[in-house]
């Protein structure tokens, strides 16, 4: 597990990934690696707990978009919760929220995804 990925767990067939740090190229790659592995295992729902991520750049966002594209091919979904305001704003500007969902809490995310 990379330093950026703090933990992964599964709940109700949803893979929950907890991140910590800069969601940039490296951080995005770390998320995509786990997602693709789990997709190969048949999982198609992913939640990212971003409580530990206060900064994101456009490269990190573009990787998330790549993941969304892959998930669309398998009728999958990805969502995020515990977003810092600046991260939430960036997701909005970059158009990410049109194709994935931002939740306030884990409970809401697990039940709403």
């Amino acid at each position: 597990m990379s330093g950026f990925i703090k933990s992964t767990k599964e709940e109700n067939q949803i893979v929950i990934i907890e991140t910590d740090g800069y969601l940039n190229n490296e951080g995005g790659e770390a998320i995509s690696t786990i997602c693709y592995e789990k997709m190969n295992e048949g999982k198609n729902k992913f939640l990212i707990n971003m409580a530990g991520t206060k900064v994101v750049n456009s490269i990190g966002v573009s990787i998330l978009i790549e993941i969304i594209e892959k998930l669309q091919e398998v009728d999958g979904k990805i969502g995020y919760y515990n977003l810092a305001p600046i991260v939430s704003k960036t997701f909005n500007i970059m158009g990410l929220t049109k194709y994935s969902t931002v939740f306030a809490t884990e409970e809401e995310a697990v039940s709403g995804l």
């Binding site: 740090g21 940039n24 900064v55 456009s58 490269i59 594209e69 669309q72 500007i93």
Partner: protein, 704 residues
């Protein structure tokens, strides 16, 4: 890849603009520089896709820059790097005054980092470079790359905004710091200060002012001064005068009523002006003179009252910078005090030193000496600094003589109280010294230093117990005064001087044994120390024996000198009861030997005194007339009207040891009186009749 999901340039520009707007909006909301810098860095990295970054700010006291914010960088690679303004990228970025690309590989500061590309922008305070923001390695999906021209413009824009925000925060910090500093100064000064505004309302009161006027600051602030000082018309008048005249008005040593407490103060009221020189209120300064009194009293522990008063009247007398001048230095030291103190409990050591110092310092001040130091049991005293007179050296010698003389009396008291006497040696020198306030900012003491001081100390070491040794320089200054007698001693070799030093011993009169003083001291000792439970062997009995001894001696035509000795023995004959009642005569004789020797009582007469004391032991065994007299005086009451009262006290005392019945007591008295004979003609002629009556009375009672 589905085109609908591509991030287009427009979105990125939108993000950049939003970020710049965020920075602009948020910059003014930060109160602390460190938080501001961290926020700028994070946003810069995010918006420009930098993999990491840092902000360096110049240290306020040097040309060095420190990392004040860092994001995602390898701190270990930068550990130990000295960001010196004179080296590396600082010059270039300062010249360009906008963001520039960095060649990391060849950069003297950053070459150890694993980064490849860098972008740096200056943070400016007006024209001065105060910091730089450095971003590393622009990220893309293909890996890292150099920053683009548009990134340069963006970072320049961010840095400009950051510079403005940084300067604003620093300005606010500086204002806060200045305000805190002013507040701390105002609160810490002992002068009471309060200010009024144009309306006459008090708007600032420091702690000292609140304390002087004896009111809480909260109750004063916001109120008009006339209301606050309604019972102190003089303060109101002074403020009013100042407001009218726009000039400083002062009044000294006025009594003000401070919420029921009267305080003496000096007051000064000055107009408070703005930068246009227009009045905006008044500032009132109050000096609490009770503090000055305390200062005076503290100062007087070290220098004489006269010097304190002179110094307070004339500030120029205190040359704070130090000066070379002529001074006389006296050192005194207790001989053998260390070994003596080892035999004493700690509280007695302190008590002894305090008693001794109190006595000595009083003499020092009497002769206008300045007590420079107390070093253990030694004293260093200066004459002629800070202020000099033509009597300085004479005063030093007079001090030394009086110290030795007073010590004799002091020791007599100690001896009487079975305490070890103290002896001192004194050394005095006169010469050039450097005087001034010497020490650190925290603690500064007025003192003198130099060879002359060292020599005075060495003369003190050379002086034996009871001696006063002075240098030739001192002797030359005082020899014309007939009060002083000097005895030339062999020159002494001292450390640091090639030639032996000419010295003299100052002679002084050691007082001869004074009977009256001795009687007084012994009586006082007996009063304080005789066990209270001894109802018969009390101070009353001893006084009676002294009185009867003198009476009998006069009748027996004894000369005055012998009567004086007889009375001395009478005072001491029962002193042994203090320590050992069973053998009190022997114990008293031992005590008398020690005390009388120490009091310079003629040695050849000490046996006469102890002989008289021992003669009183029952059965009495006098070997000469004086001994007969003291024996008769000791039992004089046997033939007196007050026999009954005395015998009752004796019985009470004897019953402390064992129970004695009335009958037993009658038998004891009968036996004792029957055997007893007076030795002197005087007592036989004056006391036998009454003694016979007493005995007859006892026998009568026994028959019953």
């Amino acid at each position: 890849m589905n085109k609908q999901f591509n991030i287009n340039e427009l979105q990125l520009k939108y993000l950049e603009l939003e970020t710049l707007l965020d920075i602009t909006n948020e910059l003014s909301s930060f109160e602390h520089v460190s938080v501001l810098l961290q926020e700028i860095l994070i946003k810069s990295c995010a918006v420009l896709n930098a993999s990491s970054g840092m902000i360096l700010m110049q240290d306020s006291n040097s040309d060095l820059f420190q990392i004040e914010a860092e994001f995602n960088i390898d701190v270990d690679a930068l550990r130990g790097v000295i960001f010196n303004k004179k080296r590396g990228f600082f010059n270039e970025v300062n010249q360009h005054r906008k963001a520039i690309h960095l060649q990391i590989e060849t950069d003297p500061f950053l070459s150890k980092t694993k980064c490849t590309y860098g972008l740096i922008a200056p943070l400016l305070d007006k024209k001065d470079l105060v910091g730089v923001i450095v971003l590393f390695d622009k990220e893309s999906r293909l890996g890292i790359s150099a920053f683009e021209e548009s990134d340069t413009n963006m970072l320049s824009a961010i840095a400009t905004q950051a510079g403005v925000a940084y300067n604003n925060i620093k300005l606010i910090e500086n204002i806060k710091e200045a305000k805190t500093f002013n507040d701390n100064v105002m609160q810490s000064i002992v002068t009471g200060v309060f200010t009024t505004n144009l309306m006459g309302e008090i708007n600032h009161v420091n702690r000292a002012a609140a304390s002087i006027i004896n009111l809480d600051r909260e109750k004063v602030i916001g109120n008009h001064y006339e209301y606050v000082f309604e019972s102190n018309e003089i303060i109101n008048e002074l403020i009013s005068k100042c407001e009218t005249a726009l000039a400083t008005i002062s009044e000294s040593q006025i009594q003000i009523d401070c919420n029921g407490k009267t305080t003496s103060v000096n007051i000064s009221v000055s107009p408070l002006l703005n930068d246009q020189n227009e009045p905006i209120g008044s500032v009132v300064a109050m000096e609490d003179l009770s503090n000055l009194d305390k200062l005076k009293s503290t100062f007087k522990k070290y220098v004489s009252k006269q010097i304190v008063d002179q110094l307070l009247e004339n500030d120029d007398m205190l040359n704070l910078g130090g000066q070379e001048q002529e001074a006389t230095i006296l050192f005194s030291d207790i001989r053998g005090f260390t070994s003596m103190s080892e035999t004493m409990p700690p509280n007695e050591v302190v008590e002894t030193l305090n008693e001794y110092f109190n006595l000595m310092i009083e003499i020092i001040f009497k002769y206008n000496g300045t007590l420079d130091k107390i070093i253990g049991d030694a004293l260093m005293v200066i004459y002629g600094a800070p202020n000099s007179t033509d009597k300085d050296t004479e005063n030093a010698v007079l001090t030394a003589i009086e110290m030795q003389e007073k010590l004799i009396e002091f020791n007599q008291q100690r001896i009487i109280h079975s305490k070890l006497p103290i002896t001192i040696g004194i050394g005095i020198n006169r010469g050039r010294v450097i005087s001034g306030n010497i020490g650190s900012r925290q603690q500064m003491n007025f003192t003198v230093i130099g060879d002359s001081v060292n020599l005075a100390s060495r003369l003190c070491s050379a002086a034996k117990a009871d001696e006063i040794i002075v240098s030739d320089t001192v002797w030359k200054h005082v020899k014309t005064n007939k009060l002083f007698k000097g005895r030339k001693l062999n020159p002494i070799k001292v450390k640091g001087k090639a030639k032996p030093i000419e010295i003299r011993e100052i002679l002084y009169q050691r007082p001869s044994f004074n009977y009256e003083v001795a009687y007084g001291m012994i009586e006082s000792f007996l009063i304080n120390n005789l066990p209270k439970e001894y109802t018969y062997h009390s101070i009353h009995h001893i006084r009676d024996v002294v009185e009867q001894s003198e009476r009998i001696a006069k009748k027996e035509k004894i000369n005055k000198e012998d009567i004086a000795d007889l009375k001395l023995a009478a005072w001491l004959h029962d002193v042994g009861y203090i320590w050992e009642p069973a053998r009190h005569e022997a114990r008293g004789a031992e005590y008398a030997t020690v005390v009388l020797n120490a009091m310079d009582f003629p040695a050849q007469k000490i046996n006469r005194i102890t002989g008289m004391i021992m003669a009183t032991k029952i059965p009495q065994s006098p070997k000469n007339l004086l001994e007969q007299i003291i024996c008769d005086a000791d039992l004089d009451y046997l033939g007196r009207e007050d026999y009954k009262a005395n015998s009752t006290l004796l019985l009470e005392e004897l019953r402390l040891k064992k129970e004695i019945s009335e009958l037993e007591w009658l038998k004891i008295q009968d036996q004792f009186l029957t055997k007893h004979v007076y030795f002197t003609k005087t007592s036989n002629s004056t006391r036998n009749t009454q003694k016979a009556k007493v005995l007859a009375n006892i026998k009568t009672q026994l028959k019953k």
